[in-house]
Chain length 174, copies 2
């Protein structure tokens, strides 16, 4: 972009999922890390769960029909769209809800990245690949239900990625 030096370009990855916490992490990012003094590429990263996490109906999926497989795939796609829409709604409402000037917002380019697999691995791989200045994520397990019990994704990522990591808690915990 013209008039913006390389130093003033920032790339931030925000890992978003179905949780309120990850949406809060996005809000935190928008209100704290976006400045009108720099141009920011905001990467919204969503990781679809691996097939193993549909385990409660894994057998049915394999034994019954393609309709069920299609339903499962549709569920995954709907989830992506739902999360991304919520994330973009937060971004869209930023002027009224969050202390961020319009000037700052103009200099934010939002990108969607959809991964598939184990969230912790996909997040680390994505960060290694696109080398953002900062990774922002919620503190709990990525997603809810089963995924919440698989261990803290944020803890795993904070140990492994090389860029600064921001771990944001749910506001109710404050």
């Amino acid at each position: 972009m013209e008039g913006v030096s390389e130093e003033n370009k920032h790339k931030i990855v925000v890992a978003v999922d179905e949780s309120e916490e990850s949406m809060h992490a996005l809000s935190w990012c928008l209100s704290n890390l976006i400045s009108h003094e720099s141009t920011t590429t905001l990467v919204l990263l969503y990781v679809k769960p691996p097939p193993a996490l549909y385990s409660s109906f894994d057998v049915a999926v394999r034994m019954v029909s393609t309709d069920v497989i299609t339903a499962v795939e549709k569920y995954g796609t709907d989830m992506v769209n739902s999360v991304m829409q919520r994330a973009e709604a937060i971004y869209g409402n930023v002027n009224t809800e969050i202390c961020l000037t319009k000037e700052a917002l103009k200099q934010v380019n939002v990108e969607r990245v959809i991964g598939s697999g184990e969230a912790k691995d996909v997040i680390c791989t994505t960060v290694e690949k696109i080398r953002p200045d900062t990774l922002v994520m919620g503190s709990h397990g990525y997603g809810f239900l089963k995924r919440a019990f698989l261990g803290s994704v944020s803890e795993y990522c904070a140990k492994r990625v090389k860029c600064p990591v921001v771990i944001v808690k749910h506001p109710q915990d404050k």
Copy 2:
């Protein structure tokens, strides 16, 4: 402060220690979290190690003389001064080294807080007490030598404190 609403006041705690990493965490904080749109109280938190960490000369301290005790205490005080001076030098050089405008810097109030004890406990207690908006710290063990092997203080704090936590890695690791 006049003209600044409560919403635009931020309090950030940066845990500083002898490590280059914590100084890098401070630099990251200054270049990413300070904005001229808000007034920031920047709390530089240094935790002096507990007496047990002078263990290599613990016996001598107890058996020999008050001179040794005085020397140990002086070592602690010197360390505090050294770390704080380095931290404040980074803050002082911020205009030339980091992309931060003078306007933004004018709205930063720097406070020193010196704690004593186990770093992880003191940091968590301090955060609980002063309730900052964000805690910023290096990723490795607090301090060097023995303290580095006592486990990751940042990991401990990220799990326990309720505010967003930024964990910054050493730039050489990038």
